[in-house]
Amino acid sequence: MTGRLFRVTLMAAVAVVAGCDAVQPADSGSLVVEAFMSPGSRPSTIRLRTTSPLEASASSAYGSVARDASVTLRINDEDLSYEETGAGLYDPPVEYDRILETGDTFRLQVLWEGISATASGVIPAPIRLDSILVSVPESPVEAVLIDSLRRDTLGVDATTGYIFPIEATIWWGSEGEADSWIQTRLSPRTEFTSVVVDFFLLPEGVFREEDAVEPGVPSGVWTGLYAVPVEDSGAVLPTHDLSVSLVRAGEAYAAFARNRSDGEGREPPSNVQGALGIAVGLSVDSLTVRVDATNVGRKAVVFER
């Protein structure tokens, strides 16, 4: 009885002293802008979404789009009014046939339900993957697959298994542009799920382009590392496709790409004033190559232009 009385008293004190602080904020709804303008093509589709309440289902979040927005794109000194062509999708008029070129500047303005969002950017030079080289060890290596240290409980044992750590080196044509940033991505498309402790892997990179270029060599180079788990120490390398992606963009995109995959849904930095999202100029090249047991034990060029 005394204990209950004390608990009640304590809870009352908590409510009086600090109860008013427990009010959690609510969302009033925001606009999300997604626009990627690339050289050598017409101004791209602009996608406008809205935020959804935390408790909303995934499907309803996909359906949260911004309709009836006014979208204007100024390319250098020319204004271009976009038209709504689908749910949250906005495109240039069909008859507009101008092709974006390196160095073009653009400024995007979106008006939607009282929200005014603006963003600007520059069209970078095109980028092209020249070569991909993979290096596969002779046999799989032992690896920690689940680390009990990084889980929420120590009640779960760590497990070990075997992986093929595969290096992939890519080259692309580059003059080492000072203001350019490069994003690289190795995406193995395999049937298995990778649960490997991955802090030593390097499937992605975001860096200044000038840091990837040797003096006097007109190309950039980057080496990444991904893993393919296998059953045991005698397993052969499963045949799998490796998708390699390369993006050239400015600093705003680099900040966006660097913080996009932290695993906890932390929102990436936005260059859109008045809204969320990203609206930048960039150039992309990507390739999918096949890696199989014939590549084991040597440095194999699996693609060369």
């Binding site: 600090a18 602080d21 969302d27 290096e167 913080n259 906890e264 849904g265 932390r266 990436p268 992309v284």
Partner: protein, 871 residues
Amino acid sequence: MSTHVNAWVWVALILVVCISRPASGQTIRLDGAEISVANALGRVSAQAGVDVVFSHDLVQDRSTRCRYDGGDVRAALGCVLQGWPLSFEQVAPRQFVLTSVERATFHELSGWVVDIDGGEGLLGSHVYLPELKVGTVTEADGAFRLAGLGPGRHRVRLSYIGYETVDTLVQVPAHPIRIELSPLHIGTRTVVVVGELGDRAEVAAIPGVVALPVSELLEIPTSLDDQDLFQALEWLPGIERTGETAGGLVVRGSGPDQNLYLLEGAPVYHPSHAFSLISTFQTETLQDVRFYRGSFPAELGGMLSSALEAELKDGRRTRPSATIAANALSARFLVETPINGSSSFMLSARRSYFDKLIGRTHPVEEDGRRDTLRTGYYFYDWSAKVSFRPASHSRLSLSYYRGRDDLDLRLPFDISLDFSSWLRPADLFFEVGHRWGNEVFSARYHYVPSDRLLLTFTAYESDYRGTESTFIRPTSSSVVASDYEVSLRDLGMKVDANFLPSDAVSVKTGVSVVDHRFGSSLEARLSRSAGLVEGVDDGSDVDALEVVAFVQTLWKPAARLRLQPGIRLTSFEGGGGLSVDPRLSVSYAIKPWIIAKMAAGTQVQHLHRLRDRYSFLYDLVSSRWVPVDDRVGPSRSAQAGFGIEARLARSLKIQADAYYRTSDDVLVPRDELQAKEGLEGPGIGVSALLGEYVRATTRSYGFEVTTEWQLDSWQAMLSYTGGVSESKSTEVGEFNFRPGRYDVPRSARAVLSWSGAHWSYTASAVVRSGYPETVPTSVYILGSPIDEPQFFLHRPLTNNGRLPAYARLDLFAGYRFGWLGADWSLKLHLYNVTNRDNILGRRYTLSEGSVRVVERGGLPLLPLLELEMKL
């Protein structure tokens, strides 16, 4: 409306009447006949029913022809004293003291009453002059002052609960005196009056200062270590910890990197052990502690928020003593002893023993393979001080402190709760070797060349060093190895002069020169695979010279008024130019039992504490301090405080403080949510680290109310803090203030103790607002040129939410007994006795568009035992 106005007018009138109305009794009549002043004063006293205290020396051979008929005591006394160089002062509602207006006969007696053993000031001691029937009660640090005393020898009686009551003679005028009392159980009647010019009185003029005697700090309940000063301080208003029981001190909402910690005049830059679970300051080893929560006097500076000054005990001067104790975390001893009549010695050590219980190394064998796993962690402290008094006018003390933490692990990744599953040879493992600690050496020489001048020379070296070694083998073809080291060494010299040109004025001035040396290095090798090897080899060594000069004056223009203006000049090599920081504090005794205090000033901080917020390889437990330079300027703050301190009764004291502080160019994380999550960060270069921070303006304001009550065996302290701590940085688009990281709008604490001959009990409770958190308010989808669209959580503002309120109740029981000729204490501390599940942190994660909240709870109910033996 008019009703309210009238009500306020009446309240104001009543207050004015109550406050200003002089004591009065029945009608006072003096018929104009010539009588002695002494006789006339006696008639006024008798007719008005008030005490008029005076020295017969003052009125001897003086007469009056006063004619008065009325009820105003002040008017009657003025009439009696008319024509004579005499005045009077009301020191209590019905008590007046006669004073001389002649400069030569107007004196104040001031000083401190302290414990003879430890030197701690005794709060609430009674200082009474029986012949004059006047007296006072000492303040928090044992300081007292009595104004309006005539010249000559005065008998002074001093009494304090648990101590011998003593009488002594003091010659007035006198410089501030130090009176040492003996506890009753010692059985001696030793009274030592030591003439000293001190600066304790200056502390009393500043609001927000905690100057509790060490004996009282030891009585404040602490959670995990009975001797932890930080854990004792966090029960005081306006002070929090960054964590539940661990972490640095958060003072009035400011971060731990804005606090100045001084031990024997030397800075301590990393004052914690056991991953900030406990502090390096052991209360038991300290003789004096002053903690400035707000404005500092001009002699202190270098940090924006608060300052902690602590002096080690210099050893008993009566007889040797020894203390040995062990608690859940550590074992310790303390020895104090006189060496001879003029010197003494203190030695203290503490060490954790967890590693002794579980072992530091574990040889393991399986299938003929051998390995040695390591699970070593310990910390230790050494404190030592030697004091010499070669002559009555000089004193030399040499102090040494060394504290270290040592973490040495070699473990497989599989650290489950089943020991047998991982105590075996491991191919895949990690090694962690972290060592960090402080070493302080300080030499101080006090010299009194004349009755009105005290010189103090201080030389010190303070060295902080941290090393972090990591070796990780997550696969048989990859290795991650790194060695990180950070250091800060201060070599300083200070000369302070305390000059008393008159009884009403003291001037303190000083110059200090400090050579700061900052070092850092990182050597790392990341072998991700056979052909993908990266390396980092970086380092820096920076020297910076800091020169400081200050002057501060304690001026008492009237008996009730103290002014303490000061100015501090700082020149820091590398950036910031010359900083000029004015300080002012004022205290005014509205009544002898009510003192109003005000302080204002500016501060500058030339050191910034930065850490790599990306890499989990290094910069984990160390404190990395970097000096200002052309890339980053100093942080500056201005603060003001106002306080009222009232002793409503002998056993009841109330203190209220209000404060406001604003700081500019404070470095705060660019992204508060950034967690260490990768092998590589931007590195240890200051430029790279600065990219992770932005300059911000912060402000905090609030009020604190503390009630202390003490009666016989009972003692209680109740405090409430209401405050706001905010921050904004235009560099990240914050144009309005938002809650700071350690914003706690409301906080209440209560401590109730009872102490008997053998048993003592304490119940302590804290209830406070939760810390701010950044809460997602919505979810959205965003694509990229090379990825499928992803879900993201939208957090519109930093610290837009708040964790649930924190509440905890602790109970303490202690039993003292004698055994084998020693005094023993057995202490049981029950932490979080209600086993409340406090929420200390939340993580919001996304899985397929659904939000998952992971909460981090606080400590459950913990029983903690301590056994102590005193010889």
